[in-house]
Structures are given as C-alpha cells and as structure tokens.
C-alpha cells in the first residue's frame, strides 16, 4: 500500500489582477508550490459576475496550494488581512498526499 501523509489544502478565490499579491503572501509564508485554476463566474453578496468581459477586472482565479500544517497556518495568517478588503474567499481542508516531502 502506498504511504500517504495528511497535509492542508488551501484554496483562495481571488480576482485575477490580485493573484500576484496572493503569490507574494504565500512566498512570505514559505509556500512556493501552487497551481492556479480558472473560473467561469459566480455570485455572492456583491452580485453576480461572469468572465466573458473585455475588461479582465472581474475575472477570478483559484489559487490552490497544498502545504504542511505550519506553513498553512502562516499562509492563512498572511492572507487574513486581505480577505475583507480584497474580497477573497479562503477554504481549507485536509488531504492525503503521496510524496509528503514535497509539500
């Protein structure tokens, strides 16, 4: 049986122009591995949006990273001040990974 270890999965929904802020915050927290996922649209308290815009100002991206518990803590800590002002959504959950050393 392949050995897996638990890690923390963090997903941040963030406006495309602000992605590099999140990447920078992650780097400060020691998180250098991540993957960006596209979105199509959505709705929330501030109304609905969809990505078929000429202006990319409202396109959103999901920043996905898997990290060890302490790095994950540090990343959440680093992002929390941005959540409200930048309108981010942050989800975390537990995943099991193979090759735990990577994360």
């Amino acid at each position: 049986m392949t050995h897996t270890v638990p890690r923390r999965r963090i997903e941040v929904l963030v406006d495309a122009p602000l992605v590099r802020r999140v990447v920078a915050a992650a780097a400060t927290a020691g998180v250098t591995g991540y993957t960006l996922l596209p979105t199509l649209g959505g709705a929330g308290e501030r109304g609905s949006w969809s990505d078929d815009q000429i202006s990319g100002a409202e396109a959103k991206v999901i920043f996905l990273t898997v990290a060890s518990e302490p790095k994950a803590e540090a990343l959440i800590e680093a992002l929390t001040p941005l959540l409200e002002s930048h309108g981010l959504i942050l989800l975390t959950s537990v995943v099991d990974v193979v090759r735990g050393g990577k994360f």
Partner: protein, 319 residues
C-alpha cells in the same frame, strides 16, 4: 453622413443587435478569447494606421498641441468628476476616486468607432490622435488614486507596482508599439499587411461591437450598485467632458475632425486599463460600480448619441 445614416451603419447596428439580444436574455455569447483577440487586433490596427499617417505627414506643431491638450485633460477631468460623484452621486471617496479615474481616461473602442464615423462623414481626424489616445490612458489613474486615498484607511500603497502596471498596461504598450511600427514601416511597409489591418478593420469592429452590446446590456441589467443619480452622472459626465474636449481642441487649433476626436476621447471612459489598475490599487472599490457606469451607460451613450453630438459641435467651432 447624417446622424441617422451613422446610426444605421452596420457598425452601430451590430452594437444595437448585441444590446437587444442581451436585454431579451438570448444566450448569444462571443467566446472571451475571441473578444480579447479582436480587442488586441483593433488596438494594433489603429496604432499602425496612426503611425503610417504620421510617417506621411511628419511631425507638426498641431501634434504637440493635441498631445499636451490630451494630457492636461486626463489630469484635470477627474477633479470635477470626483466632486460631482461625491456630492451629487453620494459616493464615498474611494469609489468616487475610482470612478473619476475612469472618466479622465479613454476608451479605445469609443475612439475607434468615432474615427470610423468621422471618416465616413468626410472629416477624418489626424493620424497622431492615436498617440494622444495612448497618452490619455494613464494620467487620470494617478489623479483618481490621489483623490481616493484621502478617504482610505492608509495602508501602504505599493506605488512602484502600480505605476509599472499602469504605464506598461498591455493596451498602452500595444497602442504605442504599433504606432511606432507604423511610423517606421510607413506606407510602403504597411502595404503587405494592409489586407488584415486595413481592409479587415470595419468588419472586425462590427463583431466586436456586437460583443460590446451584449456585455454592456448584461451589465446594465445586473447592475445593483447603479442608482438613478449615478446613472445620470454616467450620461452627464461624458457630455460635459466631450464639450470641454472639443472646445479645447478647437482652441489649440486642431482641425474639426481632430477636435471632434479629442472630444470623443475626453467623453469616453476607460473599461480596460483603468479597471485593471483599480482592482490592484483600490481593491475596496466596487468593480460592479465603475464598470456599470463606464461600460453599461457611458459607452452605449457615446456610441449612439455622444459621437454625433461632439462631431456636430466640432463642425461648429473648429475650422
């Protein structure tokens, strides 16, 4: 070309078709990648054509006058706009600053449509107006941010980032770069690529305006933040700015076509460079608000009513 003829040209009719389809809740949609591709094409084409024209006409005093007038407009127009948006529009300073920046900056497609209309009416603006367009994109962003900051919780602004983002915004780079390429290539160098960048121009503009109609109308339908006061400002601001632009253009000695084009630039509101900069520099400002005003109200107004209006005024006041 009369006002009615302008309104009935395919370019404008495709915009109307798009808006009608969106209001009727049709599922007609143009893929985002295609729309972005057309937008880049239009910028490259307008830049090239402007450069080629300037390479033929050479640099003139007019050109300098127009450039200065444009820069001054982009710096100053956000000020009365900010005043109106906070007082009459009841916006907080952050949102008012963000919106004001949009109205000081320019919309490439409004300009392009205006050039088409002016050309069809026998008064094409000078080629250097494309350079003026590029110069007007960014100054208002700085002014808008300074206005907004007075109402901000004072967190440290990464100004270098922002200046970089603004000055090297993709649309600015593409416009100026294509302008320079046109300048270097001249008529002769442009000839082999003219089938794409000249002959294809209006057809692509039709399809692009179809998409703009869809986008503007969908945005208007879903705009929650748009109060009646703000909607009326989104019509009032372009009219005032457009008139100021035409008058300033005539005052500095531009021909009627170029003065009209300066009016169109002043009247137009950005929906590419400025929203991207605002998202970065003022994330607390509501994009639903500034995009609704610039894209869903001011853009359609300019395309259908504003352009003929500023043109008419330019014919009256400019030589």
């Amino acid at each position: 070309m009369s006002g009615l003829e302008t309104l009935l040209s395919p370019v404008i009719l495709f915009f109307v078709l798009g808006a009608a389809a969106a209001f009727a809740r049709s599922d007609l949609a143009i893929p985002e990648a295609i729309a972005k591709g057309m937008s880049l094409y239009l910028m490259a084409a307008i830049g090239l054509k402007g450069g080629v024209e300037v390479s033929a006409s050479g640099f003139t005093v007019d050109m300098l006058a127009a450039a200065l007038a444009g820069i001054v407009l982009s710096f100053l127009l956000p000020l009365p706009a900010f005043f109106a948006l906070t007082r009459f529009g009841r916006l907080d300073p952050v949102n008012a600053g963000a919106v004001a920046a949009h109205y000081g900056s320019v919309s490439v497609v409004t300009f392009v449509t205006g050039v088409e209309v002016l050309g069809a009416g026998g008064m094409p603006p000078a080629g250097y107006m494309v350079a003026v367009l590029a110069l007007m994109e960014t100054p208002s962003i700085i002014v808008g941010l300074m206005l907004a900051r007075r109402g901000r919780k004072g967190d440290t602004q990464p100004t270098r980032d922002l200046l970089h983002e603004t000055l090297l915004n993709g649309s600015v780079v593409l416009l100026i770069g294509s302008f320079l390429i046109g300048l270097i290539a001249g008529k002769k160098g442009f000839a082999p690529i003219a089938p794409v960048f000249d002959a294809g121009f209006r057809g692509v503009l039709c399809l692009f305006l179809l998409d703009m109609g869809l986008i503007a109308a969908r945005r208007l339908r879903e705009a929650r933040a748009l109060t009646a006061r703000l909607a009326s400002l989104a019509v009032l601001l372009p009219v005032v700015n457009g008139v100021v632009g035409v008058l300033l253009g005539a005052f500095v000695g531009l021909d009627a076509g170029s003065a009209a084009a300066l009016g169109i630039l002043a009247a137009s509101a950005s929906y590419i460079a400025v929203p991207a900069a605002m998202r970065l520099a003022l994330p607390e400002a509501d994009p639903g608000l500034y995009l609704a005003m610039s894209l869903a109200v001011t853009f359609p107004f300019n395309i259908t009513a504003g352009i003929p209006l500023y043109t008419l005024l330019a014919v009256k006041v400019a030589t």
